[in-house]
């Protein structure tokens, strides 16, 4: 086993350093991307690159927009209750 292999395997045995701050919410984006890709792969019978990409981007955007709207509504509610 080469040194590169050892480093590669070792990187899976120690957690990454992720702080609890607003930026850590961005870890959501790759997950939304993979959900959009797999969901659309199960929905579209014949995959054509352009059409598939368009569908994935639309779904990705819809999920992000919905989550942003939900966050704004929850923030507004929290502000109304606490003020």
């Amino acid at each position: 086993m080469s040194i590169m292999d050892v480093f590669f395997i070792a990187s899976f045995t120690v957690p990454e350093k992720i702080n609890v701050n607003p930026q850590s919410i961005l870890w959501l984006l790759p997950l939304i991307a993979s959900i959009s890709i797999v969901y659309k792969a199960t929905k579209i019978r014949k995959i054509k690159a352009a059409g598939f990409l368009k569908e994935v981007v639309i779904l990705f955007g819809s999920i992000v927009i919905f989550m942003v709207v939900t966050a704004i509504v929850l923030c507004a509610l929290a502000w109304l209750i606490t003020e």
Partner: protein
């Protein structure tokens, strides 16, 4: 459909489901959906590996986080082997990376469950459409 062909059909559906669980995307490959199979395999494998990289192999915890483990197990039976490795070793796992890693690996598992059901459904449709023709 005769009794014999019904049995063969059920066995084929079972095999497609089993393949889809063993390797993400293999179920779609079995029904000649190569593009779907590649997309599913790459996406699910990357999501799962990203989760392991973020939270360490310790996030696969068959004792302390059973519900998460069940979802992770949907990726492939190979996750059970990782669970044993994780159980035997003393791998650091904590706080936010633990949460994010568990969410990534579990969502990957649930996405694979969706693909298993989809592959079996398409295999069933293909068979019934062939008989209908």
């Amino acid at each position: 459909m005769t009794q014999r062909s019904k049995e063969a059909h059920a066995l084929f559906l079972f095999l497609v489901g089993l393949l889809a669980w063993l390797v993400p995307g293999a179920g779609h490959l079995a029904i000649n959906k190569k593009k779907h199979a590649i997309i599913i395999f790459v996406t699910i494998a990357l999501t799962f590996c990203a989760g392991l990289y973020i939270g360490s192999v310790g996030i696969i915890d068959s004792v302390g986080a059973k519900p998460w483990f069940i979802a992770q197990l949907m990726n492939s039976p190979a996750v059970a082997v990782l669970g044993r490795i994780s159980k035997a070793g003393d791998y650091a796992v904590y706080a936010r990376p633990n949460e994010i890693g568990q969410i990534y690996t579990s969502i990957a598992g649930l996405l694979n469950l969706l693909c298993i059901v989809n592959a079996v459904y398409w295999a069933h449709l293909r068979q019934t459409e062939t008989i209908g023709d």
